[in-house]
Subunit: 460 residues, 2 copies
């Protein structure tokens, strides 16, 4: 982690990142302090329901979330801004010395999570834990969204294809630079093989792929001249884009250039038209050792149809649909107070807002399996023993990291392992079955009790 | 611009930003140089069709795009990475000394643009202009997407409401940190009044808004105690969140706390339930000088329905739908070579890829108006005189900025002016009418000629 620590936040420095928060977090932080009301609280980061067509979510972004909790600070420029905005000196002094001293439990990256299951729980004095809401949601929510999208594509390619190469081509359509970088990371976690983004390659050690654009071809007097010039520089590494004028004619020209130059050109890329039909036509023209890569509009639905239509390819470059999770561009994660210290003890807490009720208290998620397949989860109180395997692990204790972050490739393997163990109908890319998440008797009783107490107190 | 130059790229430093590009841009750059094939070229950044339900797009992101072109460089760490990836020394030396020496024409921010109209045109040697594709699309595409989404909400609030306050609450659901920051900026360009994001306030001088979360309320033994403690710190600035347990009861408690403390509490916020119905109920309970703010699920469609249902509010906090442009999360912009220097002269260029044909040559967009309303645009060759007002302006000439960037508030005024001049049916938020963009005779003839020549050369 240390080697890219300085730019972990999409190039947000530790000082800058302190201000990446909603004003109300700071407003509350100040008020918690000025009221002398700084009990410990537990916040739970989760989503209430799955995005459309999703049967599961793959957790991602924990490494960045933890680096943020560890490193965030407020520099002189940031404090001067807050001073200008009217925050008083004692509060600014508090921020200048800000340090996270609490605990974090979380789901390891590459693990499947379901509605109401915490991806992360933060326990700390409220005047710390509150501050993190905005950035934790922003980072963990986005990376989990993209890891999930990538996992769906990888799954389709494993089920219906030949486990072809998938490369993230989406930086140009990602929502800003951080999205480009984090989408590349999360997509790799989710199961793609690399990215086109050079900075993501440098930051995260992800393999980087790239060939040529139509502009290369257009800039020469002829397509043939363009291919010859490229092969002259890149030799066997050349992948020639053949659809600038006519895909089939372009593929023939690519083959002729390969034969005339005597270079074993690596392959061609198709980027427009009826890609399933064109890929089979091009496949017949080219010798076996010339690969066919397909881009343009690639997502899990495209891939399923491509294979169903008999398309043939060695690799795909999903772009916009991957990095924006286009059909479902948000996970709608929330960060909710579920317990607060009262009279020296942590008490479960919940809100009753219509359609937004939350289960109270710190939680555990226990996963049960039969024959190596996941069968169901139980959402329980953190202090309950309900059997099964624990999904959340300790990550930070008293402000110190106690978790060993796996390498990105290990996380990716965990995703593959997760996909294998999930029931096929839960993994379906359309109308997936609901994976069973039961609420433990203990948690149900606690929710019932807290809700009754609240209603009684409120006179409802 | 200078004061936030160091973090213009969502905190991407000038050295980092050089690597935020697709590998193929670098692959081509190297090949352009090694082939000694570095003619001037013109690239046009545009979109082929409007996103769903959009009748127009508001251009945004130019200031960041230009800062990028001016400042990008390759630092030692970045060059070391490229060396490890196999790029040869002469190319690395070229990158180490990289400087943009070309021209840029662009649409000022806050201007309406339509399909096939360039938002930006870059003319420079290909071994410069090619490099920028990824980041220009990423920045201009995203900001234009969000400015458009915000403009639609502002328009609904002007047409159907009372021009209420709109505040971007979406950072937590934005796709990473840069998206949070740039969405705040672009939403302000598009017509919202501020943001909840403290960093965006600091970076761009946008007004920052914020109140309290449910966690504040839950952390106290009672809602009343929570309100009292908050009012004790913030006095008349207090906005109390009233839906933690029961919205109407909460509003009554807020009023009681205001009366008992004798503080003219600013207002309340509603964040769940049937917001139109609850807002009228709460409005009747509260005195006129207590404002009602509404958040949760706010977008242009929500607003239209809210007003149609008789909802009453002083302000709204759009979040996820705004910062992700949820119903249409991409503009699908492209950056295409439209002209290339051959035999010492710029020649129009195009590709013929199925469904992706582009108009050749550098272009001008001319806008015609009647009675102060925009009537139609003409997309023409840059060297043609077809009347109307020029939409693109000179921004960079021979590498030097020749454009004076307006303040953000001026850009915002331009958006308001643009909205007023656009036909009402083009501004409709569902099934908008198509704004007429005619292709000039000159451009049509050029397209015809280039296409025929290409087909002849290709033997098609």
């Amino acid at each position: 982690m240390a080697d890219h620590r300085d730019t972990t936040f999409g190039y947000l420095s530790a000082e800058d990142v302190g201000l990446f928060t909603d004003r109300y977090e700071l407003t509350m932080l100040r008020a918690y302090r000025e009221s002398g009301h700084t009990p410990d609280g537990t916040f739970s980061l989760f989503f209430r329901s799955l995005p459309t067509d999703r049967g599961y979510v793959i957790a991602a972004g924990l490494e960045q979330a933890v680096a943020y909790l560890q490193d965030l600070s407020f520099g002189d420029r940031q404090l001067a801004h807050l001073r200008d905005e009217g925050f008083p000196e004692p509060f600014l002094e508090y921020l200048a010395a800000f340090e996270f001293t609490g605990d974090v439990r979380a789901v390891p990256e590459g693990t499947a999570v379901f509605p109401n299951e915490p991806l992360l729980e933060v326990t700390a004095p409220l005047d710390q834990a509150q501050l993190f809401e905005t950035l934790l949601l922003n980072q963990v929510g986005f990376q989990s969204l993209i890891a999930t999208k990538a996992a769906r594509m990888r799954d389709v390619v494993r089920q219906h294809g030949d486990d072809q190469t998938l490369v993230d081509f989406g930086s140009r359509r990602a929502h800003g630079t951080d999205a480009g970088l984090k989408a590349a990371r999360a997509a790799y976690v989710g199961g793609v093989d690399g990215t086109s983004n050079e900075a993501a390659g440098e930051q995260f050690g992800i393999p980087v792929f790239g060939t040529m654009a139509h502009s290369w071809v257009q800039s020469f007097p002829s397509e043939r001249a363009a291919f010859e010039a490229f092969v002259d520089v890149y030799g066997e590494d050349s992948v020639l884009l053949v659809d600038t004028y006519d895909t089939v004619a372009g593929a023939k020209t690519a083959l002729e250039v390969a034969r005339e130059t005597g270079v074993d050109v690596r392959g061609v890329r198709l980027d427009s038209g009826d890609l399933a039909a064109l890929s089979t036509e091009v496949r017949e023209i080219l010798p076996e050792d010339m690969a066919v890569f397909v881009s343009s509009g690639v997502d899990e639905f495209f891939l399923q149809e491509f294979f169903a239509d008999g398309g043939v390819a060695d690799g795909f470059g999903p772009g916009t649909a991957l990095t924006t999770s286009k059909d479902a561009p948000t996970l709608n994660p929330v960060y909710k107070l579920v317990a607060v210290q009262r009279d020296g003890e942590m008490q479960p807490s919940m809100k009753l807002s219509e359609g937004k009720v939350t289960y109270p208290g710190a939680k555990s998620v226990r996963r049960f399996r039969d024959d190596d397949s996941f069968r169901r989860d139980v959402l329980a109180r953190a202090d309950e023993d309900v059997g099964g395997e624990a999904v959340l692990v300790d990550v930070i204790r008293d402000g110190d990291v106690v978790y060993e972050f796996p390498a990105l490739d290990e996380i990716r393997e965990r995703t593959f392992d997760t996909l294998e163990k999930l029931p096929a109908d839960v993994r379906a890319i359309e109308r997936p079955a609901e994976y069973p998440v039961d609420v433990s008797d203990g948690l149900a009783a606690t929710a019932e009790r807290v809700q009754s107490e609240l209603r009684r107190e409120m006179g409802l």
